[in-house]
Amino acid sequence: MMFNRLHSKTTLVKNILNYSNRSYSTSCLVVAEHDNQTIASSTLNTITAASKLGGKVSVLVLGNKCNGVSDALTKVQGVSSVVAVDHPSLEHPLAEAISPVVAELSKKENHSHIFAPASSFGKNFVPRVAALLDVNAISEITKINDADTFVRPIYAGNAICTVKSSDSFKVGTIRTTAFEKASLSGGSASVVSANDWAAPLIEKSLSETGIKWDSGEIKKSERPELTSARVIVSGGRGLKSGENFKILEELADTLGGAVGASRAAVDSGFVSNDLQIGQTGKVVAPELYIAVGISGAIQHLAGMKDSKVIVAINKDTEAPIFQVADVGYVGDLFKAVPELNDALKKAK
């Protein structure tokens, strides 16, 4: 008994020591995602993940005429400092331009951790940074156990892997749906410009690689962005055509939600691929996910099974989607969806 108590005391002391080590030894650099005008919400999730380490959180903003973004970040809860690099060639976030700056700043400021969101922005340059620093990268972190130990899904979310890193820099991407957004107010950091040393690095890397941004095609929508929407109405092959997605759009509008799609619907050409939810598309975790005409293949489930409430509408009783759905409606979607839309309008 005595021994047990003594033992637990020692553990307690150890934990306190660990905790204090953590608080004073970690320093995390978050690379901000933005469009030169506004902070992407993925950046706010990443700042929350960085705050879990208990140490300082520094945010790096790389962009073109993006003072507004840097200033807004100084006010974000949990941010200790903001480093800004403004350069015309940073209008679009090329990995070749970003990576040498991130690696150099990490060495200069001796950061223990470097995080960015696991969006197409973060996935593109984070491993390049890791290679420049000769360390591993840790993709799609969903949980931070301590400063060295991280949890991430593998095999399309069918297994959960805990990894421990002994690298000198812990470089990772953060699965945004696994962390809350940091508040846009409450912080009081200031902005330091790193243009003097960063500009030559950027110019050297761009000329070495001969890379240029040619054109882009971003689809603007009135509806909320998929990865941050509270409600998502998603369609699969059962919709039969792109035209039929209209009924999902109407339902989404009634609920103030976004429209998503399964890979089958994208591959059949019903909707464009930026709507795709799944292992190879976007990972979402809304409060309400309505899967319409989606069978629920492993690859799709990997992208949505962390949703709070899942409703499935499908005519096939045996569809695997019913195994994860909180509410399963077996029947014809072309009848059920408009009916549901009417009923919801009335219920409002």
């Binding site: 491993p127 420049l132 591993n136 993709s139 899904p153 399309a156 297994a159």
Partner: protein, 250 residues
Amino acid sequence: MKIFVPVKRVIDYAAKIRVRPDKSGVDTNGVRMSTNPFDEIAIEEAVRLKEKGIAKEVVAITMGPKASEEVLRSSLAIGADQGVIVNTDKPLNPLSVAKLLQKLAETEKPNLIIMGKQAIDDDCNQTAQMLAGLLKWPQATFASKIEISESKDSVKVTREIDGGLETLSMKLPAIISCDLRLNEPRYAKLANIMKAKKVQLTTKTPEDLGVQLNENLKIVSVEEPAKRSGGSKVTTVDDIVASLKKHSLI
């Protein structure tokens, strides 16, 4: 033009995975293995560039245990000219793979490296970017369209990004990672599978290449994800509305 295509042997995408009871990893015993689907797209793209007369030689490269040779045979059957295996039974993380590929690229000097955007087992999505960083080459990740310039010294790549598409142009040599929509890989013909069996493969080891494998990232445990308790079914639309109310969603 010489193209490198790294390919990985993974558990078949359609196989149900089993986590080992001791939580050390995923059981691969008696499980169907095949070429990582994203890598098949990479091989297909390289072979199409050869068929268009743009590429002269396609080299498929894999790393891992001896059994990984089968993905080289599959790549040869689709149309790759040569197969190289870097043989090791030690675990390989993306950083080690990128370093091994870097050495091969420095000696063999390919003009282009095309690879899958991620392996469907570790889901890392890192190797192409790391390799580009080590070689200081330009990178085009998540490619859905590849156009080599007439002078064969640059490439234009359309990428799938959040919210849409973007097109980049860059000098060769370059590294491209493939997204699903780049192409539809062909099935290998029986005659080509037979022919592929006769091709002499090149075997190397990490020691031959002078690469120290990185072991700084250790797996602590691999576990089953939390199960959802779904399964309740309703018969009317009003029942759906009622449950949404119950969950305070409306």
